[in-house]
């Protein structure tokens, strides 16, 4: 719908259109403003040194290497746990069962999980991993908490991707003598991979940007993580602390720029993947 249809000009229409135009401009400008502020103040801070040196003097000096490493480790653990769980759940829901009370419960559970605020995940991770399981504030606690947080995203996107695989493929595969598992692994999953990857990448973005759930589970120790059990400060926590406590505005902007750029890159890659996927399917 291009809006090209010729209509008799009416004042109401004109006014509404003007109003909509204004609102859209405000919305877009505000969002772009945020981006521009971060990038304009942050990009000048970026240098190879910023990325390859550890923070010193509480983040006033040095770079953000350790926080980048911590972010990567945390995200890696989160996905390592959430991807098999999420994709497995999606396979079960779509391929191995018919709609029943069990699937409804699982789906409802996933939906509820998706709606739980990250602070609740943080509370939970703090009690379970940090305290009860005695992992302490650590990469492991933080990663597992994030895994639970992104799980619904992975389940939902994988399920959609799997559902989008034409059922004819399954029928053909069965008629050629596949078992169900063979059908899943040889026909369904390969076709659904782009969609699943999209979900995983989205989860990476969420993990990188998360603060509330991480600060209570991974802690905020400002040093290079060297084991699963070391407490570490991720980029977003680092940014939060730098910015809020006024430690160093230039470093805060620099960190924010890295954060925003990596998330933008991730989202653009996802978007590109999805476009490609949609194109291929049609």
């Amino acid at each position: 719908m291009g809006g090209q249809l010729r209509l008799q000009p009416r004042t109401e229409q004109k006014l509404v259109q003007l109003f909509m135009y204004l609102m859209t401009s405000i919305a877009v400008l505000v969002l772009v403003f945020i981006l521009v502020v971060i990038l304009r103040n942050g990009l000048p801070q970026l240098s190879l040194e910023f990325l390859t040196h550890n923070p010193a003097d509480m983040g006033r000096e040095g770079g953000i290497l350790s926080t980048i490493v911590a972010t990567i480790f945390l995200t890696f653990i989160a996905l390592l746990v959430a991807t098999p769980l999420g994709v497995g759940t999606a396979i079960y829901l779509t391929e191995y069962t018919v709609e029943s009370r069990v699937t409804r419960i699982i789906r409802f559970g996933a939906e509820c999980l998706a709606g739980i605020p990250s602070i609740i995940f943080g509370l939970f991770g703090f009690i379970l991993f940090v305290n009860k399981l005695r992992f302490g504030w650590s990469i492991l606690s933080g990663g597992l908490t994030l895994a639970f947080m992104v799980l619904p995203t992975i389940i939902r996107t994988s399920e959609e991707a799997i559902k989008a695989v034409p059922s004819a493929y399954r029928l053909v595969s069965f008629s050629l003598g596949s078992t169900r598992w063979q059908t899943v692994t040889r026909v369904v999953l390969p076709s659904a991979i782009p969609g699943i990857v999209t979900g995983v990448i989205l989860s990476i973005g969420r993990s990188i940007g998360e603060t509330a759930a991480v600060i209570f589970t991974a802690g905020s120790a400002l040093r290079m993580p060297n084991s699963l059990f070391s407490s570490s400060r991720t980029m977003s926590v680092h940014f939060y602390i730098l910015a809020k406590e006024g430690v160093s505005m230039p470093k805060a902007y620099g960190t924010a720029a890295v954060l925003v750029i990596s998330i933008l890159v991730i989202n653009i890659v996802t978007y590109y993947l999805m476009e490609k996927y949609i194109k291929r399917k049609s």
């Binding site: 029928l171 069965f174 008629s175 050629l176 003598g177 078992t179 040889r186 026909v187 076709s191």
Partner: protein
């Protein structure tokens, strides 16, 4: 001497409460082409699905009576469904190449058995494509996507894919319904040549196609087998008024 391959005895099929096949009795001989004709929703396709138990995939599907394939009750407790489906290869109405290369499409079923011997696979690909009459057209681009083939080529690819399974029966469900006359002709040609090695069950809503290539023809209507006989007999002297009416195009 005609040898009986498939025996269907008092066979009924239900989707939930609805009966879709009602007490079918028929025999299918080895190395014949059995044409199955009938109006839409007459149970033809259901019948095919019952023969290789693809109907299992539908919740609420239920059967009564017996189907014996090579003297084995295919609804018996000891049946290996996977082996049964390899024995009765199936070609669907719309060509469905898997999103793989031509080569991988053909060897899909072979690989399922764990056979990854390159030489054997190459041989299978060549033989199957040859038999399906596609070899010369695609031999230079075996490793390109099967989705790039034309509709007719795709359908012959599907036939070749079934042949690679080394089945004994080939079931085709309106294989030419979406194709142009030339592709249709090519497929009919390959079916005729396949007859000497395979038993072919051809569901078609094109009565002329049955007349052209079927040895015998069965007429299904509303889940019932109305009549089955040598093709010329069915087409020239049908014993049932409904058959006659259908062939004359009074409904369908």
């Amino acid at each position: 001497m005609k040898q009986r391959g498939i025996l269907v005895r008092d066979f009924s099929h239900y989707y939930g409460q609805t009966r879709s096949l009602n007490r079918i009795n028929l025999d299918i001989y080895r190395n014949e082409i059995l044409g199955i004709i009938g109006p839409a929703k007459s149970g033809k396709s259901t019948f095919l699905a019952c023969l290789n138990r693809l109907n299992d995939l539908i919740p609420g599907s239920r059967v009564e009576g017996k189907i014996l394939v090579d003297d084995q009750d295919i609804y018996g407790p000891e049946v290996d469904v996977v082996a049964l489906r390899r024995k009765l290869g199936m070609v669907f109405a719309t060509p469905v190449p898997l999103p793989l290369t031509i080569y991988e499409n053909i060897v899909f079923g072979v690989r399922l058995l764990g056979n990854n011997n390159r030489r054997e696979l190459d041989q299978v690909v060549e033989d199957s494509l040859e038999k399906a009459g596609l070899w010369t057209e695609v031999k230079d681009r075996l490793h390109t996507s099967a989705l790039k083939l034309s509709g007719g080529q795709q359908q012959r690819l599907c036939i070749a894919r079934v042949l690679a399974l080394k089945p004994q029966y080939i079931m085709l469900d309106e294989p030419t319904s979406g194709l142009d006359p030339i592709s249709t002709m090519k497929i009919e040609d390959s079916l005729r040549s396949l007859k000497k090695d395979y038993t072919i069950i051809l569901v078609t809503n094109n009565t002329k196609q049955a007349a052209r290539i079927a040895d015998r023809t069965a007429f299904f209507m509303m889940g019932e087998l109305v009549e089955i006989d040598e093709t010329p007999v069915v087409f020239t002297r049908p014993s049932d008024k409904r058959t006659e009416a259908y062939l004359e195009g009074k409904f369908g």
